[in-house]
């Protein structure tokens, strides 16, 4: 029982960190509400290191994700014949009040909530597994730019998350 409570408290702390990091990445991206791509970057920041491990297992440098997100925007503009760079940064600040994510970010959070019974503890790899399963949107396009086989990434992330769960049971 004590282990269960400890695990739940750890998960709450991880969710808090995940949301804070996602919001920080969204603001850097000049967006107020974090999307799936920002949760993916936030997962790579988590100290458990499992999100990074999932990327490494499919042969992708985790540090390349941010640049791929930016590139999918420029590629998308180029696809309609527009060569445009983002204007100089005008800082964006958070909306006051309740934490709000963009629809794709909410999808990630809802999936994390729906599968919470399988998280013991919640790991970055869980987030990677969810985002890798999204076939459309900014994150999906960024992963395609990186040449990621999303089903392989999801399999790797799910396997790592399973390992994390077993390790937690051993504690």
């Amino acid at each position: 029982m004590f282990d269960g409570m400890k695990s739940k408290l750890n998960d709450i702390s991880t969710i808090k960190l995940l949301c804070e990091r996602a919001e920080a990445h969204a603001l850097l991206d000049q967006q107020r509400e974090p999307g799936a791509e920002h949760f993916l970057l936030a997962a790579l920041d988590l100290p458990d290191g499992t999100a990074r491990l999932a990327f490494e297992q499919v042969g992708v440098e985790p540090g390349a994700v941010r640049a791929a997100i930016e590139r999918q925007y420029t590629d998308a503009l180029r696809s309609i014949g527009l060569n445009a760079n983002m204007p100089a940064d005008t800082p964006v600040s958070t909306k006051p009040g309740v934490y709000q994510a963009a629809p794709s970010g909410r999808e990630v959070m809802e999936e994390l909530a729906a599968t919470r019974k399988h998280h013991s503890p919640l790991l970055g790899a869980h987030v990677v597994g969810i985002v890798a399963g999204m076939s459309h949107g900014v994150a999906a396009r960024a992963l395609r730019i990186l040449g990621v086989d999303c089903s392989a990434l999801k399999t790797a992330a799910d396997a790592i998350a399973g390992v994390g769960r077993l390790q937690a049971f051993d504690r």
């Binding site: 999918q72 925007y73 420029t74 998308a76 503009l77 696809s79 983002m86 204007p87 005008t90 600040s93």
Partner: protein
Amino acid sequence: MVDLHDITVPTDPDEALAAVVALRRLADSIERQAVRSALRQGWSWARIAQALGITKQAAHKRLSDVAADNGSR
């Protein structure tokens, strides 16, 4: 200068929708930069809202942090 006739909408929906997302992000960024510049030049929120074709309340709600950054509210 961009000639709008040169803009071709991709036939692949995924590609076309990606372009829409990128254009919105670009427009948002240009809007913030323009509002910042307007505020620095002493424009009122009423004038900015009129130029954007939105209400003063809507402009302030969406862009008030640009004002905060500028040091004028």
